[in-house]
Amino acid sequence: MEYNFDWNRLGDIGVGRENLGHDMPVAVYRLLQFTMKDVLKYRYGAETAEGILREAGFCAGMAFAANVLKKCDNFSDFVENLQEELKNLRIGILRIEKADIHNMDFILTVSEDLDCSGLPVTGETVCSYDEGFIAGLFKHFTGKDFVAKEIDCWATGDRTCRFTVKAE
């Protein structure tokens, strides 16, 4: 599916927020996302809501890779650049647990994740937006379709989010 998202739609924040600047507390971000998720769940069911958030994350991941990340020739450079940007933008601390480039099979962890770090344990993973985001990043880098699945999360009692990322 082709998405119409255009990075320019984010606007010029420096111009728009001369005094308040670019930053904002994580709690406000989560307030936006979690309330939206709740309403979507209520309206369309949990599975559909998760799916929508995942698609939105995918769209964001593709746009992020195209507009924020540098063009990289190899996986090592890609990871280094992505780590740096995620750290700088305070999205999370990315680490590689496994990288099987030949089979396009990866395991990533994101510590201090924007979506879930510090959440109480509910027994379910909650980072569906991040799943889509990661799939979008990898799609942009490789040109291939990926499935990213969160297997560990703060909400499931872990201290770091763990994602498997596999090419379809």
Partner: protein
């Protein structure tokens, strides 16, 4: 109200003690006496199992085993360790990238370890840059010095290294082409077969390029765990040419271009011995320009030199055999050594020379009122060398004959002994 017996409390106490002190744990069983506490017992059992999993996990991680299964999600006690495990996996991956030369990876948010790791990476990178620069400098120097070959000591057709100069001179595109180039080059073929000890020096001529090379060889330690030999080839063509020039100049009369006295002395000794050994006749002509001193006094030394040059040229062109030797013996004296020549033939050559010089028509109006042509007087000797005879005999006889030519009125040829 729940009744808890003392035995049950004791059981729980022992179970918790076992968990705390890491002793073997026997799961608590629910029976009639403990059925009211089934949830509690179940949770204690679960706690024991979680603690056991965490203990095993800690031991494996502390032994550096990273390719292990993590405790299940339901074990919340293991959460912190799983994060550590994840960090260690990431570090392993980063270390692999750094080992492949990718130094931009940094460790973040791991406290003192991150600082030490990043510092190590930075130092590795700096050292690699220094080494790379040094290699480039050395490589550039090596490529621009004279021909350098590093060959396998076991098989000299296999090259470990050939510098840029050698590749250019011998048209070697790749090291793997060396063997084929050896087959096509006489020089390279000789080079690889040179039997030289370390630091010996040899000279080798390359007929393909018409150049001389000085070769120095040296045994090297080990390259790729194999013994090697180095050949350093310096172009000494210029040096050789200078040597030849000096050698030639030492034996050539600079004015007339014929051999000089020194060369004649060597030649007569050699040819005389040769004649003696082979029982051949050898002849000598001594040629003196008539009234040359007067000519010089009349016409000047410059003209005198021109006269000498003309006469020398005339004498040289009058002898045809490659074995015949013409030299300037003294001021206006020349000698012609004729190996394997008897007196009759020698006389013919002498007369030919005398006539040719006269026909030069170098005019001389020195001592006489009339203008005359420059002539030569010639003394001829010819002997069959026997034991006891020396080159001096031949010389003396020719000299005596010359004296008689002068006394006979000059412009004539006299045979020794006549």
């Amino acid at each position: 109200m729940i009744n808890i017996s003392y035995e049950t409390i004791q059981l729980l106490n022992e179970a918790l003690e076992a968990i705390l002190l890491n002793r073997p744990y026997v799961p608590l069983e629910v029976d009639d006496t403990t059925k009211d506490l089934s949830n509690v017992l179940s949770q204690v059992n679960q706690l024991a199992e979680c603690v056991r999993q965490v203990n095993t996990y800690i031991i494996d991680l502390s032994n550096g085993m990273l390719d292990i299964e993590m405790p299940p999600r339901s074990n919340y006690l293991a959460a912190g360790l799983k994060q550590l495990h994840s960090n260690l996996n990431h570090l392993t991956w980063q270390t692999q990238q750094i080992a492949q030369g990718d130094y931009k990876h940094k460790v973040d948010f791991m406290g003192d370890f991150a600082e030490a790791f990043n510092s190590m990476t930075a130092q590795l990178q700096e050292r690699e840059m220094i080494l790379r620069t040094q290699n480039e400098i050395i490589g550039t120097i090596f490529d621009h010095i004279e021909c350098l070959f590093i060959l396998s000591a076991d098989n000299r057709q296999k090259a470990f290294y050939i510098n840029g100069t050698a590749r250019k001179v011998f048209n070697i595109s790749r090291i793997s082409d060396f063997s084929a180039c050896v087959e096509n080059s006489e020089f390279l073929s000789q080079l690889i077969n040179l039997n030289m000890d370390t630091d010996m020096h040899r000279e080798l001529f390359n007929p393909d390029t018409n150049k001389w090379y000085g070769i120095i060889s040296s045994n090297l330690q080990w390259i790729e765990d194999k013994p090697a030999v180095l050949f350093y080839c310096t172009d000494i063509t210029h040096h050789k040419k200078r040597e030849e020039t000096l050698e030639r100049d030492a034996h050539i009369d600079p004015l007339t271009g014929v051999y000089n006295r020194r060369a004649f002395d060597v030649c007569i000794r050699r040819d005389f011995q040769h004649a003696k050994r082979l029982y051949m006749s050898i002849a000598l002509l001594i040629i003196d320009i008539d009234f040359f001193k007067a000519y010089n006094d009349t016409y000047g030394h410059v003209q005198g030199d021109i006269c000498l040059i003309s006469v020398a040229k005339c004498i040289r062109s009058s002898v045809r055999r490659s074995t015949d030797f013409v030299a300037r013996f003294g001021g206006e004296e020349f000698v012609v050594l004729l190996p394997n020549t008897d007196y009759e033939s020698a006389m013919k050559v002498a007369e030919k020379i005398r006539s040719a010089v006269q026909n030069l028509e170098i005019l001389n109006q020195s001592n006489h009122s009339e203008i005359t042509k420059t002539t030569v007087s010639i003394g001829v000797s010819a002997i069959l060398p026997t034991p006891g005879t020396t080159p001096m005999h031949l010389l003396h006889m020719a000299d005596t004959a010359l004296y008689r030519s002068k006394n006979a009125g000059r412009n004539c040829v006299t045979l020794a002994g006549e």
